[in-house]
Structure formats: C-alpha cells, structure tokens
Amino acid sequence: MGLIAKDRIRAKLKEDETTVRLLLAHPMHTGRGKNEAGELIPAEFIQDIRCWRNDDEVLTVKCGTATARNPYFSFQLVGGQLGDKITIRWVDNVGAKGTAETSVG
C-alpha cells in the first residue's frame, strides 16, 4: 500500500450528543486508476464499516468505489456517557480488515 498510516477515531461528548470522527487509512483504488507504468491498478476499496457503542451496533456504512481515498466520516450519536467504548471494524473487497477503538471523552 505504501501508506504508513493507521486508522484514527475520536469521540467527544458535548451536551447530549456524542460526535464520532473517523479517518481510515486506505488507498481506495477503484480499479480504473493507472500506476506510473500505465497498468491498471486492481480495485481495492472498503466495502463495509460497522460501528458499535459499547455492545450495540449503531451504524453500518457500505461504500462503493466513489468514496475518497483515506475515507473520512463524521456523525452524531444520541446521548452517551463519558467512557463509552466506540468500536469500528472495516472490511475491504480483497478481504483486508481493520479495527479502531476509542472511549468517549
């Protein structure tokens, strides 16, 4: 991949909402791009992202190839408490997986 990066996740409680921000490290090749030698780069993109708060699954994001490189997501969760555990798992089309975890601060 040539990327020295890791998935980042932040969750912040403000008033009665938890804001989750997520930045994944992934090249998101569509299968239409070419490398320097002019050869097609095979498709490699995240398909499925799931988010849990403590033990409840709260959000599923399915991505197509039109999601930007190093995908960024931000969304709100209703309520929440300091110390809630937010977990993310992703899977891409070649079977690579990743996970990220944080606690609400």
């Binding site: 909402e17 569509t30 239409r32 791009g33 070419k34 095979p42 498709a43 490699e44 398909q47 499925d48 708060r53 409840d56 699954e57 709260v58 959000l59 599923t60 994001v61 399915k62 991505c63 197509g64 190839t65 039109a66 999601t67 930007a68 490189r69 995908p71 960024y72 997501f73 931000s74 969304f75 709100q76 969760l77 209703v78 309520g79 899977v91 089309n93 070649v94 079977g95």
Partner: protein, 162 residues
Amino acid sequence: MANSTQQQRRTLLKGVISASTLALVAASGLLLPQRLLAHWPMDAFSAKTVEDALMALLGHAEIVDDSVVQFKVGSPPSYAVNGASVPIEIQSTLKDIERIAILVEKNPNPLAMSLDFTPAVKLPFKSMIKISEDSLVIAVISAGGQLYKTSRIVEVDIGGCA
C-alpha cells in the same frame, strides 16, 4: 545461436505472462469466499444509473423532492478543484431514518455510499466522495417507507475517478 536465444526469450515471456495473469486473478478478488461479500449489495453498487441503483438498494425509486433534507451550504461545494475528494454533509429534520444513499449521477457507478441507521444515530453526517466530472450529487433518505431527496450540481476541475 540465434535460435536458442529466441527459444529462451519465448520461455521467459510465457512465464511472465502466466505469472502476471495469476497475480491479477488473485488480486481481483475472484478467489474470495462468497461469505465475505454477502452483506454488500453488489447489484446496487455496480448499477450504471441512479434509478437502477435506487431500485436495487431501496426497492423503489419514487422520490418526494422535499425540503426536509438538506446539504450544508458549501459542502458539497458547487465548484471543486479536485474531484478525488469532495466534502459532503447531509442534514435533515426527519426522524426514524432507516437508510441514506449518496449518489453521484455521472460517476461510472453512481452509488457512492449507503448508510444503515439505527435510532441511536443522528445527522449531520459528513464524509468525502469522488466525483468524476461535473455532475449532480444526490442524497436520498429513506424514512417511514418514503424516500426524500436533495441534490446539488458540483463542477469539478480534475476528475477523481482514478
């Protein structure tokens, strides 16, 4: 002498071709277990038009064009220099959102993202998408059995579908 060099060259070429074919097959995901892909709506994401994608994803394509769904002003921008990463932010006053689809009309596969909501999640939702050429960007929200949409034309300088 000339003959044997030719022969060697042939064998070498053959080897290179078969090796690269194998690598391609492995990389393209043909050897993947189906289980992995079972939850990913393949036909919706590979649809070539907005209507087909919505039909495959949400079951119908009749849409109420309503003001309850909005894009944030400037996100997506009406003009973006780099189509490879265009910010997008969706807001809505709707309750009980079941699913949100984000589509880019002129992309080779219009469906960019599909979000499955639970009552614990709230808008606004922000992300970044790729846009291949000047195109309509559409957000469709499915709530209470109805579809609501909003759209905005985005012009891009450098197409972002590589």
